[in-house]
Amino acid sequence: PAAPAPPPAAPLSAALSGPFPGGRVVRLHPVVLASIVDSFERRNEGAARVIGTLLGSVDKHSVEVTNCFSVPHNESEDEVAVDMEFAKNMYELHKKVSPSEIILGWYATGHDITEHSVLIHEYYSREAHNPIHLTVDTSLQNSRMSIKAYVSAPMGVPGKTMGVMFTPLTVKYVYYDTERIGVDLIMKTCFSPNRVIGLSSDLQQVGSASARIQDTLTMVLQYAEDVLSGKVAADNTVGRFLMDLINQVPKISPEDFETMLNSNINDLLMVTYLANLTQSQIALNEKLLSL
């Protein structure tokens, strides 16, 4: 989507201050999205959208967005005002906790880029080198919440009125391991009637994890059968993956496996016994002291 401008000429990459830092991939952490949605839900009366700053780090191949905070702003038909003082303050506070995060760009909720976005983007160009712009469609057009990222490039005929064009970037979602586990857990609220879930006990977790593996195995088996019966064309890469999978199961003789299993079980039982012993010891100690 281009801002109002004369007929588009080839983007003048020479005018850009260097190539886009870090290639064309934006790596997004889920905590950023959750924050954006949350600030949208808490927006002021009458505000159609919320904006905020994106923080993160840049490396050779991509830009990684790890944090964000919302910035109060006012938007009306003909003018837009952003509280940049607030943004600067918040950035300072955030820097105290994570000194390595830098301003990467800004986000806005809503499904399109408006003229005001161009202005705000200009504000942010002063803060960050070639800022990125993220839109999160909270109005759910096409029944999807589309999440897109853009970087701006000037365009137009040199010498005449210049415009700005937003070129899209690929968005990838990245997780730390623990984040993935957290997201998997939080996702369960989608399935519960009042969107509330409790934290399950340990054996229940093992049960649900095994159920998941079982489901994936059934899918794989179904695929293999389909290929054998000719319903689905065979794919060599998938076949190789399956081969690797089967070969990964180690070949152990039943006796060795028995011994390994038993020794492990014995270890665990012994440790449980010791833990119980310690607990009864301190309970006794408590009783003796209060005599």
């Binding site: 959750a34 586990i181 857990l185 119980n276 301190i282």
Partner: protein
């Protein structure tokens, strides 16, 4: 929406006390029966530890939210910077005040309801935690401390627990009297120091939509740590910590025993002294001399200092937590091993 009453922002604190509609906690009963956490808070805590907390450092932060009836809702949080020595002029209170003021501008609940801390293998029952939680609970009755265990979470399931001090322990802390007699009177054992509050996680509809989007766009998780059968590393470390604590406990017990022995020895000495005095007085009376003046016994025999009992209570509580964690971990692993055994039998 529950009605909120804001306490006046004191200079050093600025905590607003949020009370739900009317229901005051009955004496001896806890004010909070359940903690409801937004998904956003969980993600933020995880991110904070992941980025800033590698190693044995604990990361801490503040929880924001409100109280509804007997449920504590936590809707947002912000992290606290690490304590570094080269940051001598860093003012914690100022950071907190500024953060809360800014968050207020963007309509985030700016009421303090507790704090969170990460833990290393479950070792969080320390004096520092007790003091902090006490000052929080003293200022705001419904506050909790959320303990996040990143190592257990990395093994496959989110480990987040909410704790509060029991009303009995609050009383004792208020008195600041940790001698054996006071604790015996209050009838505190290590089991009723902290109480755990059940947690539920809640998301709004829009967040659910976003999660669906994420699910569609990201692949299946390729690590299934939860089903891993390797447990010896984790067990080894937990047992090591447990042994250290048990050593500390036995030292503490030795100290207490010496104290008791000193007390009884002193009693004997006092008794002997009194007897000798009496005998002398009888002798003097028989000789017609005036009896010796009664001397203050306590000045002669200074009673030994009773050792503070809070340390041993904390150690006992910590040992208890370790044992609980170990037992849970073992139960999980036994289940997994039995499953593996069943699969193997099935194949043969």
């Amino acid at each position: 929406m529950a009605s909120r009453k804001e306490g006046s922002g004191a200079a050093g604190g600025g905590f607003g006390a949020a009370k739900g509609k009317g229901k005051a906690a009955a004496a001896g009963d806890s004010a909070v029966k359940q903690v409801q956490i937004d998904g956003l808070v969980v993600l933020k805590i995880i991110k904070h530890y992941q980025e800033e907390g590698q190693g044995n450092e604990v990361v801490q932060g503040v929880l924001l939210g409100l109280v509804v009836d007997d449920r504590l809702e936590i809707t947002n949080c912000f992290p606290f910077p690490q304590h570094t020595e080269d940051d001598a002029d860093f003012d914690e209170v100022q950071y907190q005040m500024e953060m809360m003021r800014s968050l207020r501008h963007v309509n985030i609940d700016h009421l303090h309801v507790g704090w969170y801390q990460s833990t290393y293998y479950g070792s969080f029952v320390t004096r520092a935690l007790l003091d902090s939680q006490f000052s929080y609970q003293h200022a705001i009755e419904e506050s909790v401390v959320l303990i996040y265990d990143p190592i257990k979470t990395a093994q496959g399931s989110l480990s987040l627990k909410a704790y509060r001090l029991t009303p009995k322990l609050m009383e004792v802390c208020k008195e600041k009297d940790f001698s054996p007699e006071a604790l015996k009177k209050a009838n505190i054992a290590y089991e009723n120091m902290f109480e755990e509050v059940p947690i539920v996680i809640k998301n709004s509809y829009l967040i659910n939509v976003m999660l669906w989007e994420l699910e569609k766009k990201s692949g299946v998780a390729d690590r299934h740590e939860l089903l891993s059968l390797a447990s010896s590393n984790h067990l080894g470390k937990s047992l090591q910590l447990l042994m250290d604590r048990v050593d500390e406990m036995s030292q503490d017990i030795v100290k207490y025993n010496t104290y008791l022995r000193n007390v009884s020895k002193q009693q004997q000495q006092k008794h002997q002294y009194q007897q000798r005095r009496q005998q002398e007085n009888i002798q003097r009376q028989s000789r017609g001399e005036p009896p010796l003046p009664e001397e203050d016994i306590n000045k002669l025999f200074k009673p030994p200092q009773p050792p503070p009992r809070m340390e041993s209570l904390l150690i006992a509580g910590q040992i208890n937590t370790y044992c609980q964690n170990i037992k849970e971990f073992n139960a999980q692993n036994l289940g997994k091993l039995f499953m593996a055994q069943a699969l193997q039998d099935y194949n043969n």
